[in-house]
């Protein structure tokens, strides 16, 4: 008699850490990718950052002592990596090589492709300066509350509110230029 199925399926032995990383990727992966994308506005760079985030989570796993939640910890790693990346020589080489016109605009080719896939309104939000783009995206696109955004970006709740207000004004200006408001 066949004794397989759920009762017969043997567990493959992986390390505890690897199992946990798989779980964390399943649980927080999408948020990590979105956050990385809001920073770098390039799907391939966001993929690199996503991978680096979870490799770092693996490397530093033993140092994590649950003083904060995994969620906050992983978000902080993502923010730090994105900031490092934007300051890095590699990113600056891309800018000076002319792939990116200035630090406010994503790569033109990438932008055109993503505009077609994600819609022009989303692309306009992505054209906001980083200072406003992050709070606006996290609040209006990801639905995060002000308190959560304040923790992720390490700025006060009142600063988040100010940036949301100014970001909306800036977005209205951009949309008005395009004749959409």
């Amino acid at each position: 008699m066949d004794v397989k199925s759920s009762a017969g399926e043997e567990i493959t032995l992986r390390t505890v850490k690897e199992e946990h990383i798989c779980y964390l990727m399943q649980r927080y992966g999408k948020q990590v990718y979105r956050l990385a994308y809001y920073y770098v506005r390039d799907r391939y760079l966001a993929e690199d950052i996503y991978q680096e985030v979870f490799v770092r989570v693996f490397r530093n796993y033993d140092k994590f002592r649950q003083e904060s939640s995994f969620y906050t910890w992983i978000y902080r790693i993502t923010v730090n990596l994105c900031k490092d990346y934007l300051k890095s020589a590699r990113y600056k080489r891309i800018i000076t090589a002319g792939f990116i016109n200035d630090d406010q605009r994503p790569r033109e080719l990438n932008r055109l492709m993503e505009e077609a896939e994600g819609g022009s309104v989303f692309s306009t939000v992505m054209e906001l300066p980083e200072k406003y783009r992050l709070p606006i995206s996290l609040h209006y696109l990801d639905g995060l509350p002000v308190s959560e955004i304040s923790r992720i970006l390490k700025i006060s709740e009142s600063s988040v509110k100010v940036r949301l207000h100014r970001g909306r004004n800036k977005l209205r200006e951009l949309l008005a230029k395009e004749g959409r408001v």
């Binding site: 004794v3 009762a7 946990h20 693996f58 969620y71 939000v125 209205r172």
Partner: protein, 324 residues
């Protein structure tokens, strides 16, 4: 202003559609590959250490065997307090609730005093806020050599899921299993079955389907299929079950697993209540019915106090009758 809010709602939809095209599985595989590759550079020095350790271990084993034989022959091995279960034979992460605390199911192998038979000890650890692992559940699976992957029965309305953990003896072809609930940060056993001959478990349509063989009077074996339907009470006292409809064959068993003294009504009497079972281990939280007649029926699980009952429709098919 309203116009801008509408535009932002559209942007949210755009973003959702854009991010849904990202291949997360591929990225996850790359991460695991990178993690795996990051271990490789240590291999050259490892091989030297391996040879050194193998030689040391061999020497240690010779000494240990000599010591064990000396003590064993003189019957001095009686105190088992220093015996360690050692490394687990399997580990699996499980999610019993929505808390941030991770939980791990470990199986350890251990021997009986005769040192012949294999037994498994299932342990669930919770990774607490303090960073330490706390034991929150344990159970022994006697004469079992293989842990099996756990199964989950998910509940609607944010009710915690029910877990099924099981083990297999692949020589004797039987399984043991436990149905576990989770409430108030505690794990409790809803029911357990042991030595289920040729046992097979499957979670289907929100219920646990168990197949087992039982001996018949003419020394043959009969296959018995049992559907276990767990149910819970929510905060307002309503009965919550993971199944809406059940399609079974005449002769199959149906067991409701929940709370003692819960009134259960069968409207058309196609299912007959049985006080005891000659097939399985029963407890006070289990109510057994056998599908006696083909046809359609409705079952109501009624709460003892205030709250909404749960209605489950059942279709019983007589597979011995030829279909038109």
């Amino acid at each position: 202003m309203k116009n801008l809010d509408e535009i932002l709602i559209r942007a949210k939809k755009n973003a959702g559609s854009f991010f849904s095209k990202i291949n997360y599985e591929k990225m996850n595989r790359t991460v695991l590959q990178k993690i795996s590759d990051s271990r490789r550079p240590t291999l050259p020095s490892w091989s030297f250490h391996l040879r050194f350790r193998a030689a040391s271990l061999l020497g240690l084993c010779v000494i240990m065997i000599a010591v064990i034989l000396a003590y064993g022959i003189s019957g001095k091995i009686r105190n088992s307090s220093s015996v360690s279960l050692g490394e687990p034979v399997s580990r699996e992460m499980i999610e019993l609730d929505n808390s941030e605390k991770s939980k791990w199911l470990y199986y350890f192998k251990f021997s009986k005093p005769d040192r012949v038979s294999n037994n498994l000890l299932a342990v669930i650890w919770e990774h607490g806020k303090s960073g330490n692992y706390e034991l929150i559940y344990s159970s022994v699976f006697e004469n079992s050599n293989k842990p099996c992957k756990s199964s989950v029965i998910s509940f609607p309305d944010d009710q915690p899921p029910i877990f099924i953990i099981s083990s297999l003896n692949d020589d004797e072809k039987y399984i043991h299993y436990r149905m576990l609930g989770f409430k108030g940060n505690k794990i409790f056993t809803l029911m357990e079955q042991n030595y289920v001959a040729n046992g097979k478990l499957e979670v289907t349509e929100g219920v646990l389907k168990e197949t087992r063989f039982v001996p018949t009077e003419d020394n043959k074996a009969a296959e018995i299929i049992t559907y276990f339907i767990p149910y819970q009470l929510n905060e307002t006292g309503d009965i919550i079950a993971p199944a809406e409809k059940l399609i079974i064959n005449k002769g199959d068993h149906v067991v409701f697993v929940g709370y003692e003294n819960t009134p259960i009504e069968v409207i058309n009497n196609t299912l007959t209540w049985e006080k005891e079972s000659s097939v399985m281990d029963m407890n006070e939280n289990m109510v057994l019915y056998i599908a006696d007649k083909a046809g359609e029926d409705y079952i109501y699980i009624n709460p003892v106090s205030r709250g909404e009952p749960k209605k489950i429709s059942v279709e019983i098919i007589d597979s011995t009758k030829p279909s038109d």
